[in-house]
């Protein structure tokens, strides 16, 4: 059985306008997403800004109330659970954010930050908790002297290690990593990626790894889902997706990545236009619409639920973008 199962999840936000701030439209940030995630597995989630990947991550850890659909964690339906009912679940589902400078309280010492999860869950005595904090620091490669210091005293990479220590404090089963390295220096990114890989092996963690860089996502993931305008358009094992992309958007993303080898320069087929707004998205296949594909109209009104084309390789079956 899978650890996390998401079925037809929708997360819409009202767009308010006019004198009375009535809801005039809805922003379909996540619009019918389904996937499963197994224990110890990493699912990469890649897409451009505004595609809904962060919203999806927040909905899964239930920082948001989903509009419709179903989220099952460890066999339990958590889609509409209230705060009290969610508390035991929160132990097992944690999140790492993009910018550790913004996600760590600047007025709290590292000890306060790392002790808090235990206090919230009413675990341990004061002395026990202090010992656990030291264990955590050791695990993420920070010195014990860090405890009495404040987040601003650390570099970006070290701060992200504090964020990771907080996330693993309660020995969770699933961590949603939202762009965990994009704010870091290149030479520090690989350290943090290695730490995440090590911790996963050691603790049997599952990751939902969200990022916009396909090379990082591919490196970290067992399977990768490609998101475009609130929907997953393709999902496959990492190598398979890279070698046999089926959806035109996946191919465009792969093609757009700058390759760090000047010997492999190539003429690319550039995508035109920008990612459209998720407010009133086009009917049918959104990417076919952006590409003005001649077959796009056929996709309107079609059932675009992902289809399994080869074992484990799912793709949106539209007549415009899918080969």
């Amino acid at each position: 059985m899978s650890l996390l199962s998401v079925q037809n999840l929708q997360q819409h936000f009202p767009v308010r306008g006019g004198l009375l701030r009535r809801s005039v439209a809805s922003c379909k940030a996540v619009d019918g997403v389904s996937f499963t995630l197994g224990a110890g597995e990493t699912l990469g989630l890649v897409g451009e800004s505004g595609c809904g990947k962060t919203t999806l991550g927040k909905a899964i850890v239930r920082l948001l109330k989903p509009t419709s659909g179903k989220i099952e964690f460890d066999g339990q339906d958590i889609t509409h659970s209230g705060i009290g009912a969610l508390r035991p679940m929160r132990r097992h589902v944690q999140m790492i954010f993009q910018d550790p400078a913004e996600s760590l309280n600047p007025r709290h010492t590292v000890r306060d930050i790392l002790e808090e999860p235990f206090i919230v869950q009413k675990m341990g005595t004061k002395d026990e908790r202090r010992k656990w904090v030291l264990d955590l620091l050791d695990k993420v490669g920070l010195p014990a002297t860090a405890t009495d210091r404040f987040p601003f005293e650390f570099s970006g990479g070290q701060r992200q290690r504090i964020g990771i220590a907080r996330a693993i404090a309660l020995k969770p089963k699933l961590i949603v990593c939202d762009e965990p390295v994009s704010a870091l220096d290149v030479s520090v990114q690989s350290q943090v990626l290695n730490l995440l890989l090590d911790l996963q092996r050691e603790m049997g963690l599952s990751y939902l790894f969200i990022a916009h860089g396909l090379s990082v996502v591919k490196h970290m993931s067992d399977r990768v889902a490609v998101m475009y305008l609130g929907k997953i358009v393709e999902m496959a094992p990492a190598e398979e997706l890279y070698h046999h992309p089926r959806h035109a958007y996946t191919r465009a993303l792969l093609d757009a990545i700058p390759v760090p080898d000047p010997a492999k320069r190539r003429k690319r087929e550039l995508l035109q236009g920008d990612v459209p707004s998720p407010i009133n998205p086009p009917a049918g296949c959104a990417f076919g619409h952006r590409m003005r594909h001649p077959n796009w109209e056929q996709s309107v009104g079609m059932d675009l639920t992902l289809k399994e084309v080869t074992p484990g390789h799912w793709v949106q079956p539209c007549p415009c973008c899918t080969k």
Binding site: V188, L193, H212, L270
Partner: protein
């Protein structure tokens, strides 16, 4: 060898702070060959943006100062030029585009007005001419419906469109040198590819030279002819792009190239990481600055004397620390 359009020699730029004088750029030398693209790659705090601001003389006064060296452009030394002279060059012969177009554009003026300002600062021409040149330039940067876009404000445009407007403003006076400071970092990959290609196409068309500043080795590999790798205020290695990626000589360059995840690497394998953190400017050492992260034993002498910058192979320069360049 193509004659250089810009020659920077032993440039030293420092900032006066409460904690004393901080040397952000510590004696660097490079040149930009005419019509070519020089990439400057490095991590935060390495001095790559300060280098750009030194060349354009946009350092925040009075704290930021060029303390030494020369910046030769078109037979003149920009480092010693009076402000009024510099204003004639900036935006006319040398232009700059920035990372975040939303903060670089004026939010309360239309695109058209901002473009017109760039023209009128350097040339006298009629309203009709300004309009014609603006529309022409908007077409060149491939903005659809340019007449309509001229009347819009920056917030009405998408990130990619804003960067196109920035490029249009920078290139409207046909500069000889364009300095692009992380022009695509804030953009999505598919838009990044569009913008990089646009810059390359316009470079061909207008015959200008480009300095491209980025932290992304992928971007460097895709578009640059020459590359300078900066670390902690100095250039540690400089070579043609093919040479640098095929035969990196300095331990830092090698470490950077090995540490990035690649599309063809095996998923979920450990990367070869560079240990430690990027040093902060207050901790810069006189000698080899990469010593403590190199994982190689340095003697006291290596830490205290600056390694010479030498041409180790034809057109391949390196800061020749005997330990980091093995």
């Amino acid at each position: 060898m193509i004659s250089p359009i810009l020659q920077v020699e032993n440039l030293v730029t420092a900032f006066d702070t409460d904690a004393g004088r901080m040397t952000a750029v510590d004696g660097i030398s490079f040149e930009v060959p005419s019509g070519k693209t020089l990439g400057i790659v490095g991590e935060s705090g390495c001095g790559k943006s300060v280098t750009a601001f030194s060349i354009t003389r946009l350092l925040p006064e009075p704290h930021g100062k060029i303390l030494g060296g020369s910046i030769r452009f078109d037979g003149r030394d920009l480092a010693a030029l009076p402000v009024e002279e510099m204003q004639k060059i900036r935006g006319n012969y040398i232009s700059m585009i920035f990372q975040e177009p939303m903060t670089a554009l004026n939010p309360v003026q239309t695109v058209g007005r901002q473009l017109a300002e760039a023209i009128l600062l350097h040339t006298e021409c009629s309203k009709a001419e300004v309009l014609a040149r603006s529309i022409d330039m908007m077409k060149k940067v491939r903005i659809p419906a340019p007449e309509q876009r001229l009347n819009e404000y920056p917030h009405q445009l998408s990130g990619g469109m804003r960067q196109r407007v920035m490029i249009a403003m920078a290139l409207i006076n046909k500069p000889k040198l364009l300095i692009a400071d992380e022009p695509t970092t804030a953009l999505d990959v598919t838009v990044q590819a569009q913008i990089l290609e646009l810059i390359a196409d316009l470079q061909q068309e207008m015959g200008m030279s480009v300095i491209l500043i980025t932290h992304d080795l992928g971007v460097i590999a895709e578009v640059c002819d020459e590359v300078a790798v900066m670390y902690a205020g100095r250039i540690v290695e400089k070579a043609s792009v093919f040479d640098l990626f095929a035969h990196p000589r300095h331990a830092y360059t090698q470490g950077l190239l090995e540490s990035i995840p690649r599309l063809d690497s095996k998923p979920k394998t450990l990367l070869k990481a560079i240990p430690g953190n990027v040093p902060s400017i207050a901790d810069f050492k006189p000698g080899c600055r990469f010593a403590e992260r190199s994982g190689r034993e340095h003697t006291e002498a290596h830490l205290n004397t600056r390694p010479p910058f030498v041409e180790i192979a034809p057109n391949h320069w390196v800061e020749n620390c005997p330990i980091c360049v093995a």
